[in-house]
Symmetry: C2
Subunit: 211 residues, 2 copies
């Protein structure tokens, strides 16, 4: 049985979405952020020394990095779904987005999040952070313009990995300037599998706007 | 012909090392950081809209994310070298380190680099950055203790991807507390392929200590 150790309001929400798209059985062990610090609880260190979420267990395998979890689940349980054909140019683009989501797209968001705790004292850094944000989000928006998905003509793991940085950016008002990315987030958040995953994961601040 | 668009003193140095380990022909197009800002030159935007390095070109394929480049080159030109057997537990661990290098290990280093420009004004953030640094480097050091390589008993792409965060950490004095990681860096920097790549890439601040 697949087990996902899941922290609310976190990047692990997309792993639940992925499992719902794959239609495989899994169980969720939920953890809650500390109400004051917003940090993961220490008990997660009993699951993996990094104390982070997601952690995926599947038999003897334990994985903690979202991109690797996504790659593994799709190779193992995808039966051709959610991935371009290995060896194709689209496959290399798919792998690249899997890496880009955490390796590049999250950085300007995390810099903004961390430095926001400094208030006005962070002002000297903001031009650089703004310029990195614009660089990456203009690139992503351009790649998505005229398309429905990041790679090819179907949903892939690339879209699932990219969902978190884009949802986090929307919550900070950044997507207002990037209409193709805004439309992408609305499109994925309407999927039945996405909505089922929301039920499984508990509170998620970056989900569809409540009406 | 494989072409690497390479920026000096950057994470793209490890792609040259990888190509030397693989023993495939490639050409290097070198770019130099701005002497004052240390940023990549604008001309790199003509190669890829992100304006970053490395960019790999191989026929119709163009890739910009180091982890994806490493994965692609080893799958395409490795002939079984530098990767565990696909489908094995070690293979999943290998893919995880490919992601971890940029998706996790670099973050505390980049937070430190960015906030250092604020001087004392960044002091309120330092306990959190120090704690994230300790969390990740203690984990990596523990994983490397008693081992020669991150996965299995041979050099893989995981070691090559991990070289950059570890070399960058050493340059900031962080590895002094992590002897297994220090020894790893010395071990890889003695490899003939690593040294050949240094010759190809031009100045690299994070290479072997000059004597």
């Amino acid at each position: 049985m697949i087990t996902v150790h899941h922290l609310n309001d976190s990047r692990s929400q997309r792993i639940l979405w992925l499992l719902e798209e794959l239609g495989v059985d899994y169980e969720v062990v939920r953890y809650e952020r500390d109400a004051t610090t917003r940090l993961a609880p220490d008990i997660l260190k009993q699951i993996h020394p990094l104390g982070k979420s997601p952690v995926l267990k599947d038999g003897d395998l334990k994985l903690h990095e979202s991109g690797a979890i996504t790659d593994y689940l799709i190779r193992t349980y995808g039966a051709g779904k959610l991935s371009p054909e290995p060896g194709s140019l689209n496959y290399e683009s798919y792998v690249e987005w899997l890496h880009y989501a955490e390796g590049s797209a999250m950085l300007p968001l995390l810099l903004r999040l961390y430095t926001s705790r400094l208030g006005d004292a962070a002002a000297p850094l903001m031009p650089r952070i703004d310029s990195e944000t614009e660089n990456h989000f203009a690139f992503m928006n351009s790649e998505m313009t005229g398309r429905e998905y990041f790679v090819g003509s179907n949903l892939t793991g690339a879209d699932i990995m990219m969902s978190f940085p884009l949802e986090a950016a929307r919550a900070r008002g950044i997507l207002k300037s990037y209409p193709a990315l805004s439309a992408f987030v609305e499109r994925i958040q309407a999927r039945p599998a996405y909505l089922r995953a929301l039920d499984k994961g508990g509170h998620y601040s970056y989900g569809p706007a409540e009406t």
